[in-house]
Symmetry: D2
């Protein structure tokens, strides 16, 4: 018999759906000792909370997250709020002794992040941050390839995360669906929203980033605020690019924007090593590009690995070779790994401490963009 | 409040999982009046049935499908058995007044299929066959494009379904996972298993096929039978290719094999019309190729449409643009459409009668391969 | 010092340009003992012949090919006329003791081809047919891969040659540029023009084809004749598809059309062997697809080989890795191989005898399309 | 009758071949008033000069470029030497009243470039720099698209030029074929060799670059010098990446390296505008990517334009749709445009003055990499 893990979710937006789907599906596909139970969802608006609970099968609702934290029938709190609430909720949850699964980015800035790390350490509660792309099978396979030493010395890392959904000046800032354009709710624009993913993957695959030089731009300077109805200055970065150096000597280029016409969610990365290279693209997430210089000379070429075989990460639990899975499965995998971590005793990664490293790079990037100088990651 | 639709599933293999996942997810993503309830799963082996029920949340099990059909708490029967049981179960289910959702192909041959169609008509029960690929969003979009008259006169249709999983002579025939190689269980090889999908899509998109000329081959002549343990002659077609003519004047080429090294499940089709062409590939199922001759001359090119926008079929119910879904979602969509059909009163397609048309082509193909002659589809 | 080889070209159309370019470039890139000298070009229209001679540097012109054959300063005759003149010119050239380089297809039909083969054998003159695609480096690399035994037993061969330039009913038949639509000049439509290429490559790569079943279609039944100005019945095949069996047991599917909207010259082939598969596409002719099952399981994928390295066929004579060559280079290579054959004494391939094998398949295809029956290649 | 333009070439390496091929082919494909005559090739080594002259049909040789400049039968001088000779030769050629076609980059640095510009202006001689990629038909089409205003406001520009040929520490510096690794001959590494191409295209397509911040790296610190045989410090940049701002407000990211395993000559650029985006890739140079937001919503997708139609730039002079040309044709086009400029009176672009703008960006990039600061392009 599986052991229940009672989940209390705070927030019910896009990420609330993605996580809930993960909780509901995981035991159908992964043999695990534990089983998530959707105990409660919390949102300020009672009707919306109830509608969400009805759709997803949450047993109860709350309208005040502090009440949720008081409930003894909640084992783990899932924080799906806008970024400006992460710190306060997480620290309270830690103090209440709850496990914490927190949406990314960890916090609004390093200072907040450090407080959160301190809180979970002090409380000794399990913690994890939803950098879900680590669990896309092709990305996990990239990690395996690297850990097996196939690349040799790494020379280059490059990543972009390109979108085009905010080109129209009519997109508002603030409110449901567009809070990511409101600096008070989001902390930053593409840096915290999109580059944070790129940075998390990069550190995971290639180690620490030591210094950066960055530029940011806000193409649309004013937007109507969805809640106040007033036109207000836009405080976020619409686009951000930065050069970086890794501790292992590799050079890196990162870029993100929401103004790349034709790209919906083009997160790509490529790593060039002495002996092999790897590339990946979220738009076709089930494929991994791989070039191996040790292949016979005249037959060398980039391989397009269709990562759907049973010996590929996570794929033995799904369908048969050739049948692809999608975006949402990365969350199922992250839930599976979190539940497995309950069996083994180690935090599923990235935990708060690991996510803080990504936060440090984000802060250095924004600082560099403001100062125009190379900035150390500290 | 949603109305329950009590499901009784017969079989628990690959397709049992795919359908069960569809039942469990559909109401999380699609607002519908009805809600599938996983009432019972039926399999001869009690332990396996129970394990499946535990994994997927079926409330009860049966070990004799005739008992399942007697139960008054079952509204709809889902037939996921090997092909050789479709007819018997379906006819009995119809007589028991159950709705029927039957795995493809409809039957072992046209004769069986005709009996099944007669039975559901006589009983007046809802019926549907799981030709799931119609509900891949890119394929549904292809149908929309065609229905809007964008192609003009159609000249060509071509489709392949290429796999490579039976190249090794060590793969057995018969038994769980490999019954598709046993002619007694499957009726035919790639023709009923893979070409049936190609044919269903083709008729849906381009209308009736009138005549065919075919060739088949069995590359590995003998295989051990998984159940008897004895080496026996292989009765299925390992590969099949055929030329065809459509009623609308288009020429067609179809091919399927399980001996195409490097292809796991490469189902592709392409349609060439006077004004536009369409192409699709299951290996990257979220993309549709589209060429429109009416584009400005110097800017014409095949478009790669990433079918993940909210105005694409089914996609408004999932995530955000750029985030792909996978194979399993085609079943969720088929469940959604079946449930919606309960609201509207018309059978969700393809129903048995429609699937019988595909069966007629399959039979003509096998007959042609045996005779070496062009054969009318009758 | 290089030895001159005096060329007399008959015809000055598209192929006249392609061959002339080959003659002019070959010694700039390939170190050879022989050097083509553009001695004379022959065409009925004196002005056009002279203009062509001026553009390409031919030293003289003729307006009667019989006069050209009488000239003692001509070593080799290049036949670039429409197909209906191949036989007569080639036999006369053989009788005149000239080497012959003949455009493909060899002849209007097998009967003519047999006479041509007899003539060159009797005369003992060198002969070659311009099936140029064998000399695209990626295709030549495919041949190397096969000759090295990397594929193992071959199960499948498939090829298409898809164009879209005759969809408009306003395209005339007959005359310069459109004689390929006039059955009297061309002998057949896509079969002799396009499928002949596919068949030549197929036999070269995979051995003899033993039997076929085919269908043809003429979508536009009448077209104005460019020379007479009158609307006349179209006698060619606009489209042709056929199933085939190779002597080595492989199954094959071939298709060609000029009604595939969106494809300009999409000649593709794919070969599936037990251990490896190969694919190629004329639209990106510098790449070869290669899948090797012996690659480590989790890292298997189709390789896209950019065939531009110095150890790739012919490429050491061109630029540096990554810099692609184009269509016209296949003719330069064929000239180079022809000149090299003068050093070694063996005919460059395909010679007339080899091209006759392709003609036999073309005839069987057209016969099968007319009869509706499987037809042996004899 | 065409008018001769007598060419004197200095240098005979890779670029000497590429230019010579351009001179020899241009009149076969482009109707022009002028015709290049290969009058003389100049190289210090008499035997090599003669061998080159024999291969390419140069009428004479010189071993001292100053002698070449004295010859009255030379109209135009083509400078194909290593970069460190560009200035001296060009200024002397200008003083001798010769037209000048100079390999890129224009000079070792801005200071030299300014002297060269002054010299050609003073002498009033025609001048051009071989930034050949402007004449790849797909790139020229990109320029047309932009000039037609299809992109709207431009937000982003990104370009990379990735190679992998110097990863091995055994590649020497200096000497034939590897002088590009010798800072004394080349001036810089990838910046002048590869990024210069990216910058030339970028300015041409998107206007002036105003400021940059850059990083460079030399991965292999010491290499044997091919001429001296001694191991010496490597002075060039093996890799260089920089962020930039365009005058039109667009942000840019540029990167180049010779350590990107798996890429031979991957020059790609992408431009994102408000209404449309464009992408291109040298590895498949006959294709242009194009995304137009004004396409009907559900049918939007990146188009892959096979730039081989007669209404595409330069392509009406070559073969038929679908048949690709290659790298070398960009030089033929540049010769054609240069010859055409003799008819019209304006310099073919880029001339020295235009190429100096690229040099200014290169110098700013290297200065920024050394200082670690944002640097204005002046």
């Amino acid at each position: 018999m599986t052991k229940p893990l009672n989940i209390g979710m705070i927030g019910y937006g896009f990420m609330g759906r993605a996580h809930s789907n993960g909780y509901r599906k995981v035991n159908n596909f992964f043999p695990l000792e534990h089983r998530p139970v959707l105990k409660a969802v919390c949102a300020r608006n009672r009707d919306k909370a109830q509608a969400f609970a009805d759709t997803w099968g949450y047993e109860s609702i709350e309208t005040d997250w502090r009440e949720l934290l008081k409930r003894e029938d909640i084992d783990a709190v899932d924080i799906c709020t806008p970024n400006n609430l992460h710190k306060e909720v997480a620290i309270a949850a830690a103090e209440a002794g709850k496990m914490i699964l927190c949406e990314k980015p960890l916090a609004m800035n390093v200072k907040e992040g450090e407080q959160m790390v301190a809180a979970v350490k002090k409380a000794g509660v399990r913690n994890m941050v939803w950098y879900n792309y680590r669990r896309v099978p092709a990305v996990t396979l990239a990690k395996q390839i690297i850990d097996e030493g196939r690349l040799g010395r790494v020379f280059h890392y490059r990543a972009v995360f390109l979108q085009d959904w905010t080109i129209s000046a009519d997109v508002p800032q603030g409110g449901a669906g567009t809070w990511r354009l409101d600096v008070d709710a989001a902390g930053s624009g593409v840096t915290g929203d999109l580059l944070a993913h790129c940075i998390d993957t990069a550190i995971w695959l290639n180690g620490p980033i030591t210094k950066v030089t960055a530029m940011t731009e806000t193409f649309v300077k004013e937007r109507k605020h969805a809640e106040s109805g007033k036109v207000a200055k836009v405080g976020i970065d619409d686009a951000c690019a930065f050069l970086a150096q890794f501790k292992n000597g590799a050079l890196a280029v990162f870029e993100s924007t929401r103004y790349a016409r034709g790209h919906k969610a083009l997160y790509t990365f490529e790593i060039n090593g002495e002996r092999a290279s790897i590339s990946w693209d979220l738009h076709d997430l089930h494929r991994l590009g791989y070039f191996d210089h040790r292949d016979e000379s005249k037959l060398r070429g980039w391989r397009s690995i269709h990562v759907t075989d049973s010996d590929h990460p996570y794929m033995g639990n799904w369908w048969v070779p050739g049948l692809q899975i999608g975006y949402e499965h990365s969350f199922v995998h992250q839930v599976a790994d979190f539940l497995k971590s309950l069996e083994t005793g180690e935090n599923a990664q990235p935990d708060f401490e690991s996510a803080l490293e990504t936060q440090r790079v984000c802060d250095a990037v924004l600082k560099s963009a403001a100062s125009g100088k190379w900035t150390d990651v500290v």
